[in-house]
């Protein structure tokens, strides 16, 4: 067991974890952050995407111990003061989700994408989301949602709602 200290969605937390525990398991099983989900066992689906120190990562591909001292933001920490993040708003507005299982990962990845490239072309959006699988939407409306967020926010940067 290793002691880790980190900040998750703005709260300081500490736990003893097994060295092999994945960050996604830590979030779900220890912290009850079940908004972040697991869709595969080969790091292909991106459903588990969170931000680690402001950068999107697949949390099934990071050990909990690697997050020691880090700042983690999950889908549950994206809205601030009861205000949806512009990308969350855009997904709803554009019907960018159906079953919603891929959605936490898609949103977290889209936020990161827009942070790096606030005005992406359709192609740049599609390439930027390549690591996130969705079986329901055919991606059409997810792409539209990212475009919408780009147009409707003064910069869809994390923590800066429009």
């Amino acid at each position: 067991m290793t002691r880790i200290n980190l900040t998750v969605d703005g709260e300081k937390v500490a736990d003893d974890v097994e060295a092999r525990m994945l960050l996604v398991q830590y979030l779900r099983e220890k912290l009850g952050k079940t908004g972040t989900v697991i869709g595969c066992d080969t790091s292909n689906c991106g459903a588990c995407t969170v931000h680690l120190n402001g950068q999107s990562v697949k949390s099934c591909n990071v050990l909990a111990v690697q997050a020691d001292g880090a700042e983690v933001t999950t889908i549950e920490g994206l809205a601030t003061d009861g205000q949806l993040h512009p990308v969350q708003e855009a997904f709803r507005e554009c019907h960018g989700l159906q079953c919603g299982f891929c959605t936490p990962g898609m949103i977290m990845q889209s936020v990161d994408l827009l942070k790096e490239n606030p005005h992406p072309s359709e192609e740049e959006i599609r390439l930027g989301l390549e690591g996130n699988l969705c079986r329901c939407t055919g991606y059409h409306n997810i792409v539209k949602a990212v475009q919408y967020a780009a147009e409707h926010s003064s910069g869809a940067v994390e923590g800066a709602p429009a």
Binding site: R20, V37, R92, I125
Partner: protein, 827 residues
């Protein structure tokens, strides 16, 4: 100023692109997936699965696993025995169907790689998995039936005790049932003085690959045993748990909480559910099992997997006179809940939108030692649509006409509805001319054809192909009497109830069970309109058998056309129950009351009361008519009178690089006629998602097995789900021919995109290279297969069609293409 005081007609909810009610919780992570559930003292299960396709289980050594810290128990099939129940087949397609007994956990023989032979129960999932590694199973391998055609010849038996791999033979014959002429006659005529086209197509095996892995939690600690499961069918699961495990139905509560996609893949009662049920009851503690993605791909049922032999008869001008279909359908190792029935659902769809003289559909279902096969989005109808839409293109090529022109020569004209087809179905409504005209215009059909000409003339290395699919499908499974005739184990009705709460809120309970379709939104719109209450005040409850005690769940594009109609009927009953109470309160005669926009008003006066006020009055019950019950809640069970038949014209442009075989989707346009639309936003989403699943069959997806019967594409590394980078944006629109089989005039939309798009894409790919002498490319049309087809290397690849042709094929007959089929290899 005189304001218009007559209750201004409230804006209709139906037809509005309402944002979804479901979304708030889903975009903020406040979700209730089954795997999120944690109960005090909950134990975790890990399954031990067979690595062999077919083997005897000689011994299972569990002591080492059992000795691990925090392992509670290790159980084998022998421990579970009969008490584990069975995974039932609810639709034996013939009375003499050969159906292997399907125990959730195998006892002495496994019939596919992935079948469960033991379960480990531990305090954490990780510990259960660690211990599962220590369970030592000794197998004696048996020969496995893997190839569908060989299995159909009974060379190796998947279940030796059954004596055959052939599960059932099912036929529809237009002459036999009186819906058309005899197929042999028509073929004979065509051979003499017309055109006969014979083809064989492969429907590769697909994996539904819903994004949420399946998960089950069973809590045995209450008076009722509760199962949460990532399922499409909580009601059917409850019924079958009772029927096969002996627990009284009244003691069982099944809940499908948020469910992350299904596409037919969660239309199943699974060994994993049954084992979790058994273990929790035996140990007396809540138990959870969540599969890994790799387990999901190997053990959740697959879809498609057919060989289709087609013989089409037509006149020299291109009027189709008949079609004979010979299907081989792989069931895998067991007959799933509707496994045998899936290919049969295609029987009424091969004739699609066309008028023929004769039709015969022959289907043989075959057992093999592979993962079981059952419903996957479209279920039987995509396969049929693929076959006929590919054949219509072949016919067009044969007669040298534009494929749209040939379709038009053959399709049912809009003034001919209702139309009874050669398969014996009566189509409610449609307008193929209108949808096609609109699609052509949106697509720029003539311009693209001109560009194609140009590229051909220039011998461009990148060639353009245009693919067409004018599909129809049948939705709204199904009139119960039809299902009865088909030997199906249940009915096709749906149930709804409406509770008028005293505070003016409305609770609507539906027996449909959504898993991403947006029922909470669309159903709210229907009820809001009908009862004249605000959209926001309607709450849709579903997926919990204790709340929704009666229902048949969600599949087959039935929720709206059947479940929606049940809602309408229940709402109408609420209004009728409220009417005499309203009259009483208003001291008016019932006959003088009008109901509109949620208000009862006394004709010719300004007196009135709202339906929610009536609900409150019945709650107080201080004043209501004598002899009446104080209450206006109502319920209704609706049994559909017929299917509904949406249709559409899909057009696809694909660029093929003839040097590399590389493909590029350039444009995709579809105009679907799905009757009246409740919520255009949700409909568009269903179409987009359906399109990509169908396109994925055409271009990318295939479940591949090796010679030992191991699923090679057993993870998301190898099973190629399309990403955003592989796909394009679509142009979609609608024409509207309201359904005549339900009051809302709606038709289903859940499967339309998937059904239509696969042939549109493959037709486009073949069209791009047809001038090079190619008339087929096996799905998925990978660059390698396309390249091979262009380069004539081996022509057909691993599954040459000609050698194995059925007797009615005459290789030397007219219209055969020799050595130019472009199928790729099976791998």
């Amino acid at each position: 100023m005189t304001a218009v005081q007559d209750a201004p007609a409230a804006e209709s909810e139906i037809g509005k692109d309402r944002r979804r009610k479901e979304d708030q919780r889903l975009i903020t992570g406040r979700t209730r997936w089954t795997d999120n559930i944690a109960l005090p003292g909950m134990l975790h299960l890990a399954m031990v699965r067979s690595p062999h396709a077919h083997a005897k289980v000689l011994s299972i050594e569990t002591a080492a696993a059992n000795a691990m810290t925090n392992v509670v128990d290790v159980l084998t099939g022998a421990d579970l025995g009969e008490a584990q129940g069975v995974n039932a087949n609810a639709w034996p397609i013939t009375t003499d169907q050969v159906t292997p007994n399907h125990l959730p956990m195998a006892i002495d023989r496994v019939a596919f790689a992935g079948e469960i032979v033991a379960v480990v129960v531990a305090r954490t999932a990780a510990e259960a998995r660690d211990a599962a590694e220590l369970v030592d199973v000794e197998y004696e391998e048996l020969p496995a039936a893997l190839d569908l055609k060989e299995a159909a010849a009974d060379t190796v038996l998947a279940h030796p005790d059954l004596g055959t791999n052939k599960s059932a033979f099912w036929q529809l014959d237009s002459a036999g049932q009186g819906s058309g002429r005899a197929i042999d006659e028509v073929l004979e005529e065509a051979r003499r003085d017309g055109i006969v086209i014979e083809r064989e197509y492969r429907q590769q095996r697909l994996i539904p690959a819903f994004m949420e892995p399946r998960s089950t939690v069973v809590d045995p600690t209450g008076e009722q045993i509760t199962m949460w499961s990532a399922t499409q069918i909580p009601h059917i699961t409850r019924f079958l748990l009772a029927a096969t495990t002996g627990v009284p139905e009244s003691k069982i509560r099944v809940i499908a909480p948020d469910v992350g996609g299904g596409f037919g893949g969660k239309l199943q009662t699974t060994p994993e559910e049954w084992i979790t049920w058994f273990v929790a009851r035996r140990i007396g503690k809540p138990c959870k099992y969540t599969e890994t993605r790799s387990e999901s791909l190997v053990s959740a049922h697959h879809g498609r997997d057919q060989w289709q032999k087609l013989t089409l008869a037509a006149t020299k001008e291109g009027r189709v006179t008949g079609l004979k279909v010979d299907l081989l359908a792989d069931l895998g190792a067991y007959v799933g809940i509707v496994g045998g029935g899936v290919p049969v659902l295609g029987a009424w769809m091969f004739n699609a939108i066309y008028k023929w003289d004769a039709y015969q559909f022959n289907c043989t279902t075959v057992l093999t030692n592979k993962t079981w096969v059952d419903a996957y989005r479209g279920a039987g109808r995509p396969e049929a649509t693929y076959a006929i839409e590919r054949m219509m293109d072949e016919l067009a090529a044969e007669v040298g006409k534009d494929p749209l022109e040939v379709r038009e020569m053959n399709w049912i004209k809009h003034e001919e509805f209702p139309f009874t087809t050669v398969a014996g179905m009566t189509y409610d409504s449609g307008n193929y001319e209108a949808a096609t005209a609109k699609a052509k215009q949106m697509f720029g059909y003539d311009e693209l054809r001109a560009e194609q000409e140009q590229r051909r003339a220039n011998n461009d290395t990148v060639q353009l192909g245009i693919g067409i699919s004018t599909f129809t499908e049948m939705c709204g499974l199904a009139p119960s009497r039809v299902l009865g005739q088909l030997n199906y184990g249940a009915g096709g009705w749906e149930h709804a109830s409406i509770r008028m709460l005293p505070t003016g809120k409305v609770e609507v309970i539906t027996g449909a069970s959504a898993h991403g379709q947006g029922h909470e939104t669309a159903f709210s719109q229907i009820v809001a309109d009908r009862l004249g209450v605000p959209f926001e005040d309607v709450e849709i409850l579903h997926g919990d058998t204790q709340v929704s005690h009666k229902g048949l769940d969600t599949y087959g594009s039935r929720s709206l056309v059947v479940g929606g109609e049940a809602l309408v009927l229940a709402a109408d009953k609420v209004i009728e129950k409220a009417r005499p109470i309203a009259a009483h309160l208003l001291e008016a005669s019932v006959d003088d009351l009008e109901f509109a926009n949620g208000r009862f008003s006394v004709r010719g006066t300004d007196q009135g009361t709202s339906i929610t006020e009536v609900a409150l009055a019945t709650f107080a019950s201080h004043n209501y008519p004598e002899g009446m019950e104080p209450g206006i809640d109502a319920e209704s069970t609706y049994d559909p009178v017929n299917f509904s038949f949406p249709h559409g014209t899909h057009l696809c442009a694909v660029e093929v690089d003839t040097e590399t075989g590389g493909l590029k989707l350039r444009k995709y346009v579809c105009v679907d006629d799905i009757g009246n639309i409740i919520n255009p936003l949700i409909v568009a989403g269903q179409v987009h998602g359906g399109l990509v699943q169908g396109i994925a069959q055409a271009l990318w997806e295939e479940a591949v097995y090796d010679d030992a019967g191991t699923l090679v594409s057993g993870s998301f590394v190898d099973y190629l789900l399309p990403t955003a980078a592989d796909t394009i944006s679509f142009e979609i629109d609608h024409t509207t021919s309201p359904s005549t089989t339900n009051t809302l005039g709606t038709k289903g939309v859940g499967e339309a995109g998937t059904i239509a798009s696969t042939p549109a894409v493959v037709n486009a790919v073949v069209d791009a290279v047809r001038h090079l002498g190619i008339n087929d490319i096996t799905m998925p049309c990978t660059p390698e297969r396309v390249w091979r087809a262009i380069n004539h290397s081996g022509g057909g690849g691993a599954d040459p069609t000609e050698e194995s042709a059925m007797p009615h094929f005459s290789p030397d007959g007219p219209n055969q293409d020799h050595g130019e089929t472009g199928e790729g290899e099976d791998l």
